[in-house]
């Protein structure tokens, strides 16, 4: 009888220990979820459909072999997401294509779950859908001091996030928000 009592007790203690060891693991698994946007939100997809009829977001296979010789395939150069105007709403920069036309659009989020558009007009990036020759991507430019020597010595103190235009490995422009408007900083 006494022997059984002790066996059951030891079994309880062992089980109890196991549970203690499993608890932090369970927390770790729950914390492992890194929420990085991998798809455009539906509201933005609808917004593009409405405001840029017949235009579509470019795809990774629109990019040239040369492009992918510079970058890992996990990098998505087709669009980028961050907050450029410190309103704590997601803003997006996207390459849109229609036939062989290409357009860079920056959509800033609004409090009403909609977007405001800014089309970048001073770009001339070659694009031929059949040739898969796209060689310019978009990336997030986090806050930093950006110093440029050419074409002239200049600095940008980027306090909020911006979007960087990448022409192959070269960051040639920064699109950022200042004084209520989208601004461009030329780094080439």
């Amino acid at each position: 009888m006494i022997r059984w009592l002790w066996i059951i007790t030891l079994w309880f203690l062992a089980a109890c220990n196991e549970r203690e060891m499993q608890a932090p693991l369970a927390t770790a698994v729950a914390n492992n979820i890194t929420e990085q946007a991998t798809a455009l939100p539906e509201a933005l997809a609808d917004h593009i459909k409405t405001n840029f009829s017949q235009w579509h977001v470019v795809e990774k296979n629109d990019y040239s072999k040369t492009w992918w010789s510079f970058y890992d395939s996990s990098y998505n150069p087709c669009w980028a997401r961050t907050d450029i105007n410190d309103d704590q709403l997601a803003d997006y920069a996207l390459w849109l294509k229609k036939d062989n036309q290409l357009r860079l659009v920056i959509c800033t989020g609004t409090a009403s779950h909609s977007f405001a558009n800014y089309t970048v007009n001073d770009l001339n990036v070659p694009f031929n859908e059949k040739e898969h020759n796209l060689a310019a991507g978009i990336a997030v430019a986090p806050p930093a001091q950006i110093d440029v020597a050419y074409p002239r010595i200049q600095s940008l103190i980027l306090k909020s996030n911006g979007f960087a235009l990448m022409e192959l490995e070269e960051r040639t422009r920064i699109y950022y928000w200042e004084n209520g408007n989208l601004q461009t900083f030329y780094t080439k």
Binding site: T9, N17, E20, N32, T34, T82, N161
Partner: protein
């Protein structure tokens, strides 16, 4: 009669054993600061980190850390200070508070007893660990991306998208678009003006 007594004695011993086991073996997964704010902790590799940004308003000895809301006062401050993002205290619940370098470097210590501001070596170790375990980035950036306060001008930026924390001599940062850990946005050894930046704090266990 004697047998019954023996059984009773064994029952008592077992009850005592179970009681002491349950009260001493419970793992402590939280840490409490001098203000009474409790923080969850997480194990990353071999390090134990706070899972939330620091909210404390007093040094370890009980001295008050001033809350500076004024932009000029923040930019010119030469002693320890903290602020809430956009001077809105409600943000401190989710993202903690932002501290200048003087508060980090103060000998009265900002970290709870038994904890410290991570050293650059500990950050390097975390960086290496995250490179091999990118899925674990969420352990750091969940409730961590509380933005920063710009040193010169005292303006607030990037809440919800970027997280900046003090290490012993510079910053380490994470962005919502990457599982990687970056360093050097603010470096007080290279740039003396960086001491007025307001960044968050994650402490690591001694």
């Amino acid at each position: 009669m004697k047998k019954k007594k023996t059984i009773r004695l064994h029952r008592l011993l077992i009850a005592l054993l179970l009681f002491t086991h349950c009260t001493t073996s419970k793992q402590d997964n939280t840490v409490t600061d001098i203000d009474g704010y409790e923080y969850r902790t997480i194990t990353i590799g071999k390090q134990i980190w706070m899972a939330e940004n620091l909210r404390v308003t007093r040094y370890r000895n009980g001295d008050t850390i001033p809350n500076i809301t004024d932009t000029t006062a923040w930019s010119t401050c030469t002693s320890g200070a903290y602020c809430n993002y956009n001077n809105d205290a409600s943000h401190s619940t989710g993202y903690g508070r932002l501290y200048n370098w003087h508060a980090i470097n103060d000998s009265r210590k900002i970290a709870p007893a038994g904890w410290h501001i991570p050293t650059d070596e500990e950050i390097a170790s975390l960086e290496a660990w995250l490179e091999n375990n990118p899925a674990a980035a969420g352990k750091i950036n969940t409730n961590g991306l509380g933005g920063y306060r710009f040193g010169s001008g005292g303006t607030y930026h990037t809440m919800g998208f970027n997280g900046y924390w003090w290490s012993a001599s510079r910053s380490f940062e994470m962005y919502d678009w990457s599982p990687r850990l970056f360093t050097g946005f603010v470096d007080v050894q290279r740039n003396k003006e960086a001491v007025t930046y307001g960044l968050a704090v994650r402490c690591i266990k001694d």
